[in-house]
């Protein structure tokens, strides 16, 4: 056992390896499984500063939880589940929890690569970023260009990106390179409330605020040439990274079902340490209804990122010429609950701020990436670059096939604003040659690099722990903030 930093009262903590810490089941009387944290000593010190560990241990108390609950290296305090948390529950007698998915259902990231090099863009960068910001409604509340009827929303809920393919907003290749083909089976439109529909009706093709963004990237460094080649990445290539989710529709689905489950739990004899962990048995009427509504919202989110892809392709073509192409490398969710099989058990895997990271031999890894692994994207803080990895088969046993989803906040938004003025942050980005479009300087300060953990350290832990393998690093050329 290694001597290590321990929060007071937590004697049952031991460092298993230089990338993994385990909190044993005897740490608290109500824990059913251990809690495992992927972190080196520096990240552990940051993670143990706030209530991340307490929240992770809370998750370990939920009925039907199996094996262990996990915190990824970018984990930080959230509400209910920690952000960067992974937990799996038996579908037979375990629970499903809206708080284990979060409000932004199927928030996720997609990477597209361009048939142009970054060097070729030259002085077209500023017009390109400007055109993207004009084309994609962002966090100021501007609605999308599509207003959807209930019948159209139902098709989005049930068919996901297949519906957009039929409408000419997606290609067959896009669907092949989207997690679950851009459509989770099991969506139930009748489980989505009128309020959720109203919030989402004008939001398809919109980015939203907070940490959402569209970034023009350059492939800066390739670590694994064969894997990069399989993904179609080469150094100095122009790329586009899109980060957003299900917008108000997903927020309302979560609100509706946290409230419903909060009221229903007594009926099932479930006692929880934090009301935001409100849950119900997966097979119960509220559990099934939430799963149906969550799948619908997840499909809406994939359609949202697909619509932004469509708008981005038009923006690229209008600035760089009609022969420019943006090919989807992959789209991956990081806030979702999915039914997956592990060691012959059907489990409902909750990933809240964690990315699925299936390995080269997993049947759900797209055919083009078999032998390599499912692409995993870890965006860094605004303007500092992002990482491309591929999942490893070992991750199935290590983390229910999961890796982290970002650099992870280390500072609150208020503290970030107090630390540095938004105008200063913008000046620094511009001085580095990065073109920035953001509706608010305040939000620019909140999302500044110093407010986040060190991306390279987080990625290094993911790589060394065997959750995913480093392939390439991207650097930001242009940022359109939500």
């Amino acid at each position: 056992m290694t001597v290590m930093t321990r929060p007071p009262g937590l004697e049952a903590i031991r460092r298993v390896s230089d990338t993994l810490v385990e909190i044993g089941v005897d740490a608290r009387h109500d824990m059913r499984v251990p809690a495992r944290v992927y972190a080196d000593e520096a990240l552990w010190e940051q993670i143990s500063r706030d209530r991340t560990l307490e929240q992770l241990m809370n998750v370990a108390t939920l009925p039907g939880v199996v094996d262990a609950v996990y915190a990824m290296p970018d984990a930080h305090e959230g509400y209910g589940f920690p952000v960067g948390g992974v937990a799996a529950f038996r579908t037979t007698d375990g629970i499903i929890s809206p708080g284990g998915v979060g409000y932004d259902i199927n928030c996720g990231v997609r990477l597209l690569v361009c048939n142009r090099s970054a060097a070729e863009v030259g002085d077209q960068l500023e017009p390109l970023v400007h055109q993207l910001s004009r084309s994609i409604p962002s966090g100021t509340g501007r609605g999308g260009k599509l207003e959807m009827s209930d019948a159209e929303l139902d098709r989005v809920f049930v068919e996901g990106c297949r519906y957009l393919e039929e409408r000419g907003f997606a290609t067959a290749a896009d669907l092949l390179h989207t997690e679950s083909g851009g459509c989770l089976p099991g969506a139930d439109p009748s489980a989505v409330s009128k309020r959720a529909r109203e919030r989402g009706r004008r939001q398809l093709g919109t980015m939203g605020g907070g940490n959402h963004f569209v970034e023009v990237e350059r492939v800066d460094q390739v670590f694994d040439e064969p894997a990069a080649s399989a993904l179609g990445l080469q150094e100095d290539q122009l790329a586009l990274l899109i980060h957003t989710g299900s917008r108000g529709l997903g927020h309302q689905v979560c609100t509706d079902y946290v409230s419903r489950m909060d009221q229903a739990m007594a009926e099932y004899g479930i006692v929880i340490p934090d009301r935001q962990l409100a849950c119900a048995p997966f097979v119960s009427p509220p559990g099934r209804a939430y799963f149906g509504a969550m799948c619908a919202a997840a499909n809406f989110a994939w359609c949202n990122r697909q619509m932004i892809t469509h708008l981005s392709r038009r923006a690229f073509a209008s600035v760089l010429g009609p022969d420019v192409e943006l090919r989807l490398v992959y789209d991956v969710a990081h806030n979702v609950a999915k039914v997956e099989e592990y060691a012959g058990r059907q489990l409902c895997v909750h990933r809240k701020g964690a990315t699925r990271a299936f390995g080269p031999s997993h049947p759900e890894t797209p055919a083009a990436y078999r032998g390599v692994g499912q692409p995993v994207f870890i965006p860094g803080s605004m303007g500092t670059g992002s990482a491309v990895l591929v999942g490893r088969d070992e991750a199935g046993e290590l983390s229910f096939g999961s890796a982290c989803h970002g650099a992870g906040r280390r500072m609150s938004r208020g503290e970030a604003r107090r630390t540095r003025d938004g105008a200063d942050v913008k000046r620094e980005l511009v001085a580095r040659g990065i073109v920035v479009r953001c509706p608010s300087l305040k939000e620019l300060a909140e999302e500044a690099p110093f407010a986040y953990k060190d991306l390279d350290r987080v990625v290094d832990v993911v790589h060394r722990a065997g959750l995913a393998r480093k392939v390439a690093r991207l650097s930001a050329m242009g940022v359109v903030k939500g």
């Binding site: 706030d50 209530r51 930080h76 305090e77 959230g78 509400y79 209910g80 952000v83 708080g99 979060g102 409000y103 932004d104 966090g139 100021t140 509340g141 501007r142 609605g143 309020r195 109203e198 919030r199 939203g208 605020g209 907070g210 917008r247 108000g248 927020h251 309302q252 979560c254 609100t255 946290v258 409230s259 909060d262 009221q263 934090d274 009301r275 935001q276 409100a278 906040r409 280390r410 500072m411 609150s412 938004r413 208020g414 503290e415």
Partner: protein, 145 residues
Amino acid sequence: MSSPSLDGEQAGHELVDHTSEVTLRLWAPTFPALVAEATRAFADLVPSDRRSADEEPAWRELSVEARDRAAGLVGWLNEIIYLCEVEQWLPVDADVTESDSGRLRVRARGVRLEMPFVLVKAATLHNATVREGGRGVEGEVTLDV
């Protein structure tokens, strides 16, 4: 920040931020006054230039069903979030009646917004509390922003 409550005693609120979210801390002489203070606190989050200058404030009758006071407070804030996003209507003050523990009837005075306010996703039940304390009735709600 403090403001006079309906019965003239002091009510107030403050925002406490942590790693990823914001906690709204409230106090007031009574629970209905606390809910009214939550209304004013949320209105403070919306930039004044978002509010329509063309229309007079209007009143609406609204209600919230919940199983206890903490859920009632969270439910009312989620009602405001929905109204701001979909109906572009921001409640700025409220007369509140508690018909049963957590069940609220709210007569809210509000203003039109020039565009939807979407920066707060939801009010959560995470550590949501309403209790008697040194400043009267005290409440805490974490907002997902």
